[in-house]
């Protein structure tokens, strides 16, 4: 990889799309541009916030021909886009004469080109690694796109690792006892779920752990992006439905996998695939009591039945307090292979008894520390 030589001195960057293309709906453009920023924010401490007006760090524009910066676009083909390095302002310009497309082998994929350009906006020059995103040539639409290690190394050389995983050894390179430290120092997790094969996984940040009966398997953590290509880190919730598909949720989007292979074009909007379910959920699970999907957010929960119309009844959301002993603001929910339902919050967990419909009274009492009881710390 090659670094241009300058970088942003702030971590929280803003952007706006001040000129949209002719041939794509605004909503699609907003989504693809957001996704393109997200691939960089997922592996760095950087955040990107969209603004509609006012001054921003990175301005995105779709332009034709000469457009004021002395570097005119050349019509279809040839130059697709260009962007300015941080020292020159970070703006990204796209040739509006291109046929920009979304999730299509036709035309030019906006997400991939935007992700490349934003690499320049952040300080990366072109890489001579052909498989890298930052290679200068457009390689066509890749439905399972993911960053090359060269891209990851480049951007992390400039901005470091995401905050939560800072100063941690790279798990795949340095397996050993230290690997468990992150989960043992703070057993807070993003999500826990069972695979279709009955394996339980814990996700946290960019990493995941495979759970054994009373601990975690050796060789973990591993990178989520390595095992589930196309899936970002910092997942909100996940579950495997009885159709064998695993669903992952983050922000406004969700992804569907069969095993560890993405099922076609994802992410999709939660509002499209799970009508009636809010964005930014805290936790989700398939409850053993009735096989329906439950989503949790704040102090509310929603029951989702894909076979019903509407899938979420009008009586939802309901208060989580209906689940006796279960707290609000959950991190994860899991219907475990032993028939109990477990709820996780801030490194502690609650065992919910489906028959009494309440958190068990036990010794030691719940909540208990998840690090000791689940992760073998």
């Amino acid at each position: 990889y090659a670094l241009q030589g300058t970088r942003w001195r702030v971590k929280n960057l803003t952007y706006k799309i001040s000129k949209y293309p002719r041939n794509l709906p605004k909503a699609d453009v907003d989504m693809e541009i957001s996704k393109a920023f997200n691939i960089w924010s997922g592996i760095t401490p950087l955040t990107f916030t969209k603004k509609k007006s006012g001054p921003v760090h990175i301005e995105v524009r779709f332009e034709n021909g000469e457009h004021g910066d002395g570097d005119p676009f050349d019509g279809p083909g040839g130059t697709l886009a260009h962007a300015f390095f941080p020292v020159y302002g970070g703006d990204a310009h796209f040739d509006d004469a291109e046929r920009w497309t979304v999730n299509s082998y036709r035309g030019t994929n906006l997400f991939q080109v935007a992700a490349h350009e934003f690499g320049h906006s952040l300080g990366l020059s072109h890489s001579d690694v052909r498989a890298a995103l930052m290679a200068p040539f457009y390689r066509g639409y890749d439905p399972t796109f993911e960053l090359n290690d060269d891209d990851v190394d480049a951007i992390q050389a400039l901005y470091g690792l995401p905050k939560k995983t800072n100063n941690k050894p790279t798990p795949t390179e340095a397996p050993g006892e230290e690997e468990d430290a992150e989960l043992c120092n703070d057993a807070t997790v993003d999500t826990l779920f069972n695979s279709a094969e009955g394996v339980t996984y814990a996700f946290k940040g960019l990493h995941y752990w495979k759970l054994t009966e009373d601990s975690i398997a050796s060789g973990y953590p591993r990178l989520i992006s390595k095992s589930w290509p196309g899936l970002p880190g910092n997942i909100d919730a996940a579950f495997t439905y009885k159709n064998g598909r695993t669903y992952f949720f983050k922000g406004t989007q969700y992804w569907r996998y069969t095993g560890k292979k993405m099922d076609g074009d994802y992410p999709k909007q939660i509002s499209e695939g799970f009508t009636g379910i809010p964005n930014n959920i805290n936790a989700a699970m398939v409850w053993g009591g009735n096989g329906k999907i439950y989503f949790y957010k704040g102090s509310k929960f929603w029951r989702y039945d894909p076979t019903s119309k509407p899938p979420v009844k009008n009586s939802y959301p309901k208060d989580i307090s209906n689940w006796e002993g279960v707290p609000n603001d959950l991190d994860a929910a899991l219907h475990y292979t032993n028939g109990y339902t477990y709820f996780f919050k801030k490194g502690s967990y609650y065992r919910f008894n489906d028959r009494t419909f309440s958190v068990d009274v036990a010794d030691p009492p719940f909540p208990r520390p998840a690090g000791y009881w689940w992760f073998g710390c």
């Binding site: 697709l80 020159y88 302002g89 970070g90 320049h120 020059s125 052909r130 200068p136 457009y138």
Partner: protein, 90 residues
């Protein structure tokens, strides 16, 4: 030996391309400047581009090199060797 860009169409395009993406001085693309370029300079620029693009390094404008130059791509310079890559933002 000298290289006169106007003699061969592919060569002209190659000079434009190599100058645009930082392998040759930008003055080479100025139609009013009447620049001549040594064959060595052109060969070196082609070699540098071939190396960067992962092509066979021949120094010649072979078919593979010409085809690569026709690929859709990012407009940012690959190399910043001739002057500062300092387009003004606003």
């Amino acid at each position: 030996a000298s290289f006169v860009p106007t003699l061969q169409d592919e060569s002209v395009k190659a000079v434009m391309y190599l100058a645009q993406f930082g392998y040759l001085p930008a003055q080479m693309t100025n139609p009013n400047s009447g620049h001549l370029m040594s064959q060595d300079a052109m060969t070196d620029a082609i070699k540098e581009f071939q190396a960067f693009a992962g092509l066979n390094i021949t120094g010649n404008l072979d078919k593979e090199t010409v085809e690569t130059m026709k690929l859709p791509r990012c407009g940012v310079k690959d190399k910043v060797g001739f002057g500062i890559d300092a387009r003004s933002k606003r």
